[in-house]
């Protein structure tokens, strides 16, 4: 299908806008000091501190400042100390993040194109060709990558002295690798995404499903129903022992391909050993791997830092009684883990969408959320624009996101800088943001399931 006209012009304009912000603003926009943008995990200032400590032959994790990966220290540390006169700090890092954003957008576009191809193929098999030529189908790849590039949240993250663009790139790389069935790329993305921030570990389920079953498609029941001639009554008739399928449906019926998955697992082991080896070399004299796990994953899981951010956990753990602290830590993290199985059961035929839902849930419930995580899942949401066209509350969500993005800095200013506000003001915007994200996740899952039901109705008819 034809892409969006002028896609490359728009993409280049987005890159140019970022460069404009970088080069033509002489003063520091102070985006790196906004708690919505830079969290204790992703702040570049803390990375610079960790780098200084490492250069001083101390452990980079001492001082409870830096809590990221030692590989990022070696990668970005040198760049953070080079200062350019008259430019905002971390200038070279921001330039690099512009490039990283562009690569992420290109990968999203490629994923979208693969999704579109798979969608057309499955519709052809199901004889739903009238849907194929229906007007109003947007090329999801172009649309999603433009949404990602032009999203103000992404631009703010790119300029904002935060390492979230690299996390987003790794996650998108894992999804793209899984969609294109390139096991080494998927393994690389998944291992590094997990290494940098713990939560992408739950993406193992959609990645394996993507590699095994293939891309998003209508439920396999529809294909079975199409091929079976005998049954004509209710659609719930599940007859696994169907008659022999014609040759065409052999391609359509999704059988789990174990070869790809084993290939993926092998590459995961290779990359995992690589990452652990590099980390242990870099932390050889200063504590080793156990300290790294304690200070990075332990820090994420125990929510040690109570600085405000756009989530709800910081105020919760600042106020909860010590007696219940561990209980609530488990509750919050189990809420992410518990949803893995029901969602996977219900959406296993749409693994790319499943990955989006997992990312959205983990962005909502993670220990130190930031707008960089929202930028990622909003971009991925746009990949499913054709299926989610009937989503309820879309306007409400759009206005809600704009409202929260505008109100949150105001409340923060009132509380911290002017002293006229209260922590409750800022927490209220965080709560509203969490509600918005809940509505987004629930409504998108609901509309996707409705879309599948509509397809089933069309196939039956």
């Amino acid at each position: 299908m034809a892409g969006i006209r002028g896609y490359w012009n728009l993409a280049a304009a987005a890159i140019a806008f970022r460069l404009l912000l970088l080069l033509c603003f002489p003063k520091d926009l102070h985006l790196g000091s906004r708690p919505e943008v830079a969290t204790p995990l992703t702040s570049l200032r803390r990375l610079a501190e960790g780098y200084w400590l490492k250069q001083a032959s101390m452990s980079p994790y001492s001082g409870s400042m830096y809590h990221g990966s030692p590989l990022l220290l070696s990668f970005l540390g040198q760049l953070t100390i080079r200062r350019v006169e008259g430019r905002p700090p971390h200038f070279y890092c921001s330039l690099m993040f512009v490039v990283v954003d562009f690569i992420t957008a290109v990968l999203i576009r490629a994923t979208g194109q693969k999704l579109l191809l798979s969608r057309h193929k499955s519709f052809q098999v199901l004889n739903l060709s009238k849907l194929v030529e229906a007007s109003g189908i947007v090329n999801p790849g172009d649309f999603a990558s433009l949404v990602y590039l032009w999203n103000p949240l992404t631009i703010v993250t790119c300029m904002g002295s935060s390492t979230s663009p690299i996390d987003n790139l790794m996650v998108v790389m894992a999804i793209y690798g899984a969609c294109s069935r390139i096991a080494p790329l998927a393994a690389f993305g998944w291992v590094f995404a997990t290494h940098l921030s713990l939560y992408p570990i739950i993406l193992i389920v959609p990645v394996i499903l993507l590699l095994g079953y293939g891309l998003d498609a209508p439920p396999s029941k529809l294909f079975l129903h199409k091929t079976s001639d005998a049954s004509s009554s209710c659609a719930l008739n599940q007859s696994p022992d169907n008659s022999e399928a014609p040759k065409l449906t052999d391609n359509a019926i999704h059988t789990f391909s174990w070869v790809q998955v084993l290939h993926f697992v092998l590459w995961v082991f290779i990359w995992l050993c690589f990452v652990l080896l590099l980390s242990s070399i870099s932390l050889k004299d200063v504590g080793g791997l156990s300290e790294m796990f304690r200070k990075t994953y332990g820090f994420i899981l125990t929510v040690e830092d109570l600085s405000p951010n756009i989530g709800v956990l910081w105020y919760f753990f600042a106020e909860v009684f010590d007696f219940f602290r561990n209980f609530f830590l488990i509750v919050f993290h189990v809420n992410i883990l518990f949803m893995i199985l029901p969602l996977a059961i219900r959406l296993k035929h749409r693994s790319c969408f499943l990955a989006f839902v997992y990312i959205a849930i983990s962005s909502m419930l993670k220990s130190y959320p930031s707008v960089g995580d929202s930028a990622l899942y909003l971009g991925l949401l746009a990949l499913f624009c054709n299926e989610l066209a009937d989503m309820h509350f879309s306007f409400f969500l759009f206005c809600g996101y704009i409202g929260v993005s505008l109100l949150s800095p105001v409340m923060h200013n009132l509380w911290i800088w002017r002293g006229t506000g209260n922590a409750n003001f800022y927490f209220a915007t965080g709560l509203a943001y969490a509600c918005l994200q809940t509505v987004l996740v629930v409504e998108s899952v609901s509309s996707m399931l409705k879309h599948d039901r509509m397809l089933r109705k069309l196939v039956k008819a």
């Binding site: 501190e49 809940t438 089933r456």
Partner: protein, 513 residues
């Protein structure tokens, strides 16, 4: 000797002895062993500070109780509490040494800086306003020195004319007389000690000793000024001060500034091409999260590369909620420098509501930084030998003591959460979580056809009344007929069973009793 093992006992003993909260220093995270600041054996020295604690009369009283006569006789009887605590500065020091030759020796030192009251006499001319106020022991302490403390071997009062004051006096030609046209010192001293071998160009300081006093002749040492007289006091070579920069409750900077003083200028005039060495020792609590990589040095207002000025740096970073961070710096720069400034950025941390002290909005204290000047020391030597001096105080003056300067303690205001909100916060957050959990599971649970069934069932619902239905179910069950929709049968069956069990229980209760 195991210092750290017995530290807890020491702090508790001191705390009980002096009614001070020294026991807060007991944990190993609240005391430190600075390597360079005190220029002594590192492994033996421990340093701890309690910035929020105020020294007051309840600490002085037990301290005085250690004296043989307490504050009932001898010089200690002068210590009228209101007079002492009206002053500008007071400091108590306790030194306990134990050696084989001398046994246990306890030295106690109390340092008080007082300002005499300005007495205004309308009879005098306007010239009197510029004269320093005259003072005497009775006017300052409201008491006279009467009698000795009987167990005391010696009890003496020394009166010192500072070096710079002697310089000014000599300019006016008055030398070392204690009664001249500038001031009158009464009564006459018993002995005079003059400093010998001062630094070139400096005059000697003079000490007058007073020793004769008893019950019948109370000693009222006093000074009456006749003419205005100005002299400068000796200072450390650089005036060290520390302050906070920045506004808001998110971040700030700590700045330490060293300003050159007159003493340094005198020192500079003597030697050319010298360098000054400065040691800075600072302890910062963990909730003031310092970024050590932002350390900047400014000499005379111009930023310098840190490695030019900083000769050595030793950093022990803090750990969240565990222990504070320490910073030790050794700076070296030319003597001719007028001002040196160091800045360090920090972020303010956020604490759990239990970790805030009772008055949380006052702020949190950062203990004083210690600035040491190893090149400068204060020591005097006297013409008379030690035996004839026979005073521990003057012997102490003769020791070579490095000049140390303590900066101000800083007050850092931190943001406070709303202390009244724990239940509200927990309920709000758990509500949002429950909304997410419930609605997502609900969406996943819905099956195809349920909507149609719901629509169909909405058409033919009649209001079900419970009791008639129960009765009809009961009667139909008795008659052996099954009736009703399968969905409600299980519900009604359980209700029927429940009522049956209740009736049986009541009957059993009556029958058994």
């Amino acid at each position: 000797m195991e210092i750290d093992a017995t530290w807890k006992d020491l702090t508790h003993a001191l705390s009980g002895l002096f009614c001070a909260s020294i026991n807060f220093l007991e944990s190993s995270t609240s005391y430190f062993a600075p390597s360079w600041a005190f220029r002594s054996n590192v492994s033996n020295l421990r340093y701890g500070a309690l910035p929020r604690e105020a020294v007051c009369t309840e600490n002085l009283t037990p301290w005085l109780k250690l004296l043989p006569c307490r504050d009932k006789a001898g010089l200690a009887s002068l210590l009228d509490r209101p007079s002492i605590y009206k002053g500008y500065y007071h400091s108590q020091r306790l030194q306990l040494t134990s050696t084989k030759s001398t046994g246990m020796v306890l030295k106690q030192t109390l340092t008080v800086v007082l300002k005499p009251d300005v007495q205004r006499n309308s009879a005098h001319s306007s010239l009197d306003n510029s004269i320093q106020p005259s003072w005497s022991v009775s006017s300052m302490f409201k008491k006279n020195v009467t009698g000795l403390c009987v167990p005391a071997k010696t009890s003496r009062i020394f009166f010192e004319l500072e070096t710079n004051m002697v310089v000014e006096l000599e300019k006016l030609g008055y030398g070392d007389s204690w009664s001249n046209s500038i001031f009158d010192l009464s009564p006459n001293p018993v002995r005079v000690f003059k400093e010998s071998n001062p630094l070139p160009g400096r005059s000697n300081s003079i000490i007058y000793e007073y020793i004769n006093y008893s019950e019948h002749e109370p000693l009222d040492l006093g000074m009456k000024w006749k003419l205005p007289f100005i002299w400068s006091c000796s200072q450390s070579p650089f005036h060290a001060s520390r302050f906070l920069m920045g506004s808001g409750n998110e971040r700030g900077s700590i700045a330490i500034s060293l300003q050159s003083t007159e003493s340094n200028k005198e020192f500079l005039a003597k030697s050319h091409g010298c360098t000054v060495q400065v040691l800075i020792f600072q302890v910062v609590p963990w909730y003031v999260k310092v970024y050590y990589h932002t350390l900047q040095v400014f000499i005379d207002g111009k930023p310098q590369s840190a490695s030019d000025v900083i000769e050595k740096i030793q950093v022990s970073p803090s750990e969240d909620k565990l222990f504070p961070g320490t910073l030790e710096l050794m700076l070296r720069y030319p003597c001719s420098v007028q001002s040196v400034a160091l800045t360090l950025d920090f972020d303010k941390g956020f604490l759990h509501i239990d970790e805030y002290p009772p008055d949380a909005n006052q702020g949190f204290d950062i203990p004083s930084a210690l600035v040491t000047f190893p090149n400068f020391h204060s020591s005097r030597s006297y013409v008379e030998d030690n035996l004839s001096i026979n005073s521990p105080l003057l012997l102490k003056f003769q020791e070579k003591n490095v000049v140390r300067s303590y900066t101000e303690a800083l007050l850092v205001p931190l943001t406070t959460p709303d202390f009244s909100m724990p239940y509200n916060v927990i309920t709000f957050t758990c509500t949002v979580l429950a909304l997410y959990f419930g609605s997502l599971l609900n969406v996943l649970r819905r099956r195809v056809g349920e909507e149609e069934r719901l629509l169909n069932s909405k058409g033919n619902t009649t209001r079900i009344r419970l009791i008639p239905l129960l009765l009809s179910k009961f009667s139909s069950k008795l008659k052996g007929r099954t009736d009703g929709t399968p969905k409600s049968s299980s519900l009604l069956g359980s209700k029927f069973l429940f009522i049956l069990v209740v009736v049986l229980a009541v009957l059993w209760h009556y029958i058994a009793n």
